[in-house]
Every structure is written in structure tokens, then in C-alpha cells.
């Protein structure tokens, strides 16, 4: 197995608050990995650092062996990272099909664009909604549409920030299947997730973040049994 993402000694703080402290993190190609941790643990910040929305104070990010620490966001996307945000980041005034076209059109044209759009519509169960304005889709459908858009750039690594937030159990299950399907096609997946049942469904291994640094890593069962992990979750719940 090869390493797709490698993070070395990443540090970031806002004002006096440290949000990433000496993070070392490695992700193998083909993995399906989850990041967990209580609110404010730094999960979203970690994503934003990976995406280039924040610049780290120190540390290095390697993607596919290349140093991407100083690339702009869209340049990282073009290297093969893609993301689905927590709040659905779709274009509400555009139709579902237009959303997908915008997502794909910088590398596809004409017939191959139409074909890819059709396939992704199928994949996301949105074929019947192709001309609907994206803003009126159900919450789950909006999440799927965004996953479809994220996949459209043909990423090697897909970052998912709480992909099932606000979904019904049935939608959550379907989403899990979708992710397994994508993973089977060779896309590495890194997800931030709260729903432990869902984590169990999709992930072989998890990383626990706490106060901006990596607290523990291991299988999901190990982590739920880990006394320290239980403590930070309970401690956080007390606050």
C-alpha cells in the first residue's frame, strides 16, 4: 500500500487559541478512515488546513508524495483532493444538472460531460430531479448531490465533513453504501463523523482528535473501549 496523504508537524492557532498542535497524520491509498472527536477538537480546522483555506504556521502537507502546503485551494483540488462540506455547499439557484455540470466541466466537454452527468445522477439517485432547483431538494438529497459534485472532479482523496448530518436512518444507510461503492472504485475516503453507527458501517480505522492534536488511533472497537477517549467525550459532554 502507498501513502496518499501525509501530514508532518502541522501547527495553527487563531489569536491565542491553538487549533492544530503538532499533528502527524498518515493515510494509506484506498483507505476509508474516520476522524472523530468532541466539538471543538479541531476536526474542521484540520480539513480546512488540508484544503488550503487556512495556512498553517508550520508543518508540511504531502499529497501523493508532493508538498502541497503552499498551493492554493483550487490547485489542490486539481491534484485530486475533493471535499463535501458539512453544510450542503450546493448552488441553490441552479438546477441539479447544472450543479453537476459546473462541477465537471473543467475536465469534461460535450458528449463525455453529458454521459458523466447521467452516470452521477444515477449514482446519487437524483435522475428524476435533474431539472429541479437544487435549493428545494430534501436535505439528504442535497447531501448526495454534493457528494456527486465532489466525486465529479475525479478525486483520489475525498474529504467528507459529517456526510450524514441531518439524514434519516434510511438515507444514512444509503449514503454508507454509496461511500463503499466509491471506495471500491479506488477513491480514498477521509470522513469527519459523529454518528458511531455510521462510523462502524464505513470505517476500518479511526483517529481521535482532541484539543487540536491527535489523541489516539486504532480500530473503531479499540477506540470506543479506550478509557481516555471515553473520558474526553464525557468530559466534553459535561461542559
Amino acid at each position: 500500500m502507498t501513502t496518499i496523504l501525509e501530514v508532518r508537524k502541522l501547527n495553527k492557532s487563531f489569536g491565542g487559541v491553538t487549533v492544530a498542535r503538532n499533528i502527524d497524520f498518515t493515510l494509506q491509498a484506498g483507505a476509508m478512515h474516520c476522524l472523530i472527536g468532541p466539538n471543538g477538537a479541531g476536526k474542521s480546522t484540520f480539513f480546512r488546513l488540508l484544503l488550503g483555506e487556512h495556512t498553517p504556521e508550520s508543518g508540511t502537507i504531502y499529497f501523493g508524495g508532493d508538498d502541497i502546503t503552499h498551493l492554493r485551494s483550487f490547485q489542490r483540488i486539481r491534484k485530486g483532493i475533493s471535499v463535501k462540506f458539512q453544510v450542503p455547499g450546493i448552488f441553490k439557484a441552479l438546477s441539479v444538472r447544472q450543479n453537476l455540470e459546473v462541477a465537471f466541466q473543467h475536465h469534461l466537454h460535450g458528449a463525455s460531460l453529458s454521459e458523466t452527468v447521467r452516470r452521477v445522477l444515477d449514482f446519487t439517485n437524483l435522475s428524476n430531479e435533474a431539472t429541479t432547483a437544487a435549493g428545494v431538494l430534501s436535505h439528504g438529497q442535497q447531501q448526495w448531490l454534493e457528494i456527486g459534485m465532489a466525486v465529479g472532479v475525479e478525486p483520489k482523496l475525498l474529504l467528507l465533513d459529517e456526510p450524514t448530518a441531518g439524514m434519516s436512518p434510511d438515507e444514512t444507510r444509503k449514503t454508507g453504501e454509496m461511500l463503499h461503492d466509491l471506495n471500491a472504485r479506488g477513491i480514498t475516503i477521509l470522513a469527519v463523523e459523529h454518528d458511531m453507527a455510521f462510523v462502524q458501517q464505513i470505517s476500518q480505522s479511526v483517529t481521535v482528535l482532541h484539543m487540536g492534536s491527535i489523541f489516539a488511533e486504532g480500530s473503531i472497537d479499540e477506540m470506543t473501549a479506550h478509557p481516555g477517549v471515553q473520558e474526553i467525550y464525557l468530559g466534553a459532554a459535561d461542559e
Binding site: F85, K92, L94, S95, H106, G110, A111, V136, V153
Partner: protein, 365 residues
């Protein structure tokens, strides 16, 4: 679920080159599609072509004058309505290009179509300046209302500076900038023709030339907006972060759109200067800067057709108000603006067009 269906935007596969571009005359980013729309558009164009046959020279020349402003309005529609960046300073590019036309033509004269060379150079200068300002703003992560403030400041700096260039030391070659009183003495657009030149004073010939330019720019913008470029602009307006995370260098797109908007404002500036053989710093002032925003907002910024029609209606309407409304004209104008914003937030023309579209089932919404 509330079914809102949007027209399908799929480009017919297999089309290439000109046919592909022609197919983009209609699409998701512009209102109006199908035979009905194009028949209506052709009728409007026909009416415009026949207009001089039924009106006197003054009315035709005055209509030509209205057309002069539409380019700046369409450019602002592109930048504000489609790209989501409210520029309060399109007049900076308008004025710069207008002065450039004056300086160039006063120095090289009008023979052999030189005025058209001046037009191209001046518009390019306006566009280049807009690219520069666009680079400064978008790569500097300036957003929202601050874009308006920066652009307004730019146009006011230009105005303040130009207003004090009355002295004889302020000359470029033969051309005196002439300060607040404004620069004059440049030739009108001139077409070299057999047996003498045709001077495009405000009249039927100028009207047809401008009508042709409006049609070209309008159709060109329709194609551009329905092309992938336009899709991305709208995506940036809707959600810039998401668009960037789809791998687009959004700043480049914004800068290019801003540059194009600036070039169109420059085109209006050149045409205005050539029309009246006069350009003044006050055409870059606060009042002048606010006017394009008013035209576009009243017409409707979200659609290029609404912008075009709205601009013509507002300019003509304000002029008639001034002619017939005496001192109450400005009061009525003000009341109209407030009314428009409160009652038809998407713009007067846009709202009417969507209603028509709904009736015939061909509109965008």
C-alpha cells in the same frame, strides 16, 4: 415536494465550433428560449430597424444616444448580476476609455478609419485597467460591499485628479485634458467611404451602427454566459467556496469577468465621447457612478435581457420625466426607485419577463 423545474442545460453532444456556440444563444443563464422568444426578439429587432423610418432625425439620434449607455449597463449586469460583485465604479473605466479616445484621435486624426483604431485601443485600455483593479481586489480577497467601496474610491480619485488638469501643462501630445470643463475637439467616429468620409454624428447612420453593436454584444454575452465560463460565474455568485473546492481558480474568473465588464464600460465611454465630442471628469463622479447601478437594478440584474431592456426604459423614462416633469422630475425618479426596490426586488423588467415566461411556459423560472 415543491416542484421547481429549470430548463435543461445539456449541450447537444457532437456540436463543435460555431454550431456549439450558436447553441449557447439559449441556455440556463439567460431568460428566453424556444421559437416564441426568438420570434419576439426578431420582431423587436425589426421594429428597431424600422424605427428611423417613422421618426424624425432628433428622435433617432436620441435613441442612438440611449444605446450608447447599454454597453456599460450590460457590463455591470455581468459583473454584478452574474458574478455577484457590485462595482460602484464602472464610470472609472468609462471615463478612462473616453479620455483615451479623445487623446488618441486628437493626436492621430480621423483619416483612414483611425477613429475605430482609437476605439479599439481605448476599450482595451479600459479593460486592462479593469483587469488591474480586478486583480488587486479579487486576489486581495476583497468581498461584498467593499468591492463597491474600492471601485467607488477609484472613480472618485480619477474624477478629483482630472478636475484639476485645466492648466496648459496637462496635455498629452496635442490633446489638452482641460480639467473640469472637460476635453473637447475630438472627431466623431468616422467611416472611410468612397467619395469622402461618413461622420457618425447622432443620426440614422450612427443609430444603425450602434444597434448592430448592441445586437452583437448582447448575443455574444448570451453565448458567453451559457458557456462553461458563465456557469462558473453563476456558481461563484451562489457559493464561491464550493466553486473553488470544485477546482476552479475563482479569482481568475472574477478578474476576467470584471475586466470584460470594464471593457464594456469603456466601450460606452468611447461612444459617449465620440457622440458628444466631449468628455468631462464629472462623468466619473458620484452621481454618474450611481446611475448604471440604478439602471441595472431597476431593469433586473439577474438576466442580461432584462438589464438591456431595463436600461433603455429607465434612461428614456428619466429623460421624458425631465422634459415633462419640470422640477418634480427628480422627486418622481426617486419615488420610482424606492417603489421598484420595494415591490419588484428582482427588477421591474425581470419580473415582467418572468411573468410572461410563466404564462407561456418558456421562462427561466
Amino acid at each position: 415536494m415543491n416542484e421547481i423545474r429549470l430548463p435543461d442545460a445539456t449541450e447537444a453532444p457532437g456540436r463543435r465550433g460555431p454550431r456549439l456556440w450558436l447553441s449557447r444563444l439559449e441556455g440556463p443563464q439567460t431568460m428566453g428560449r424556444g421559437l416564441g422568444f426568438w420570434i419576439a426578439a426578431a420582431l423587436v429587432l425589426l421594429a428597431a430597424i424600422l424605427y428611423p423610418a417613422f421618426n424624425n432625425d432628433y428622435t433617432v439620434g436620441n435613441a442612438a444616444y440611449f444605446l450608447v449607455w447599454t454597453f456599460m449597463a450590460m457590463g455591470l449586469g455581468l459583473v454584478w448580476g452574474y458574478c455577484g460583485a457590485l462595482s460602484f465604479g464602472q464610470t472609472a473605466f468609462f471615463g478612462l476609455a473616453g479620455y483615451a479616445y479623445g487623446v488618441i484621435t486628437i493626436n492621430i486624426g480621423s483619416a483612414f478609419g483611425a477613429t475605430w483604431l482609437a476605439l479599439v485601443l481605448a476599450v482595451a485600455l479600459g479593460g486592462a485597467f479593469a483587469l488591474l483593479i480586478g486583480y488587486f481586489m479579487f486576489y486581495g480577497r476583497i468581498k461584498g460591499v467593499f468591492i463597491g467601496i474600492v471601485t467607488l474610491s477609484v472613480t472618485l480619485v480619477l474624477e478629483t485628479f482630472m478636475a484639476q488638469t485645466a492648466g496648459p501643462q496637462w496635455r498629452i501630445g496635442e490633446a489638452r485634458l482641460n480639467g473640469f470643463n472637460g476635453m473637447s475637439g475630438m472627431p466623431p467616429l468616422t467611416v472611410p467611404w468612397f467619395g469622402g468620409e461618413i461622420l457618425l454624428y447622432a443620426g440614422t447612420t450612427l443609430y444603425y451602427v450602434l444597434l448592430g453593436m448592441v445586437v452583437l454584444v448582447y448575443l455574444g454575452l448570451r453565448m458567453l454566459l451559457n458557456a462553461p465560463f458563465g456557469n462558473v460565474l453563476v456558481a461563484i455568485r451562489e457559493n464561491p467556496e464550493r466553486t473553488e473546492m470544485l477546482g476552479y481558480g475563482i479569482r481568475l474568473y472574477q478578474m476576467l469577468a470584471f475586466g470584460l465588464g470594464g471593457a464594456l464600460a469603456g466601450l460606452s465611454g468611447v461612444l459617449y465621447t465620440a457622440w458628444g465630442q466631449y468628455i468631462t471628469p464629472s462623468s466619473m463622479g458620484l452621481t454618474a457612478a450611481a446611475l448604471p447601478i440604478v439602471w441595472v437594478a431597476v431593469g433586473g440584474r439577474r438576466d442580461i435581457t432584462a438589464t438591456l431592456l431595463g436600461t433603455l426604459i429607465v434612461i428614456a423614462g428619466f429623460q421624458s420625466l425631465t422634459i415633462y416633469g419640470s422640477q418634480y422630475a427628480l422627486v418622481v425618479m426617486g419615488a420610482l426607485l424606492v417603489f421598484t426596490v420595494l415591490v419588484t426586488p428582482n427588477g421591474l423588467v425581470f419580473t415582467v419577463m418572468s411573468q410572461i415566461g410563466r404564462i407561456f411556459g418558456k421562462g427561466r423560472e
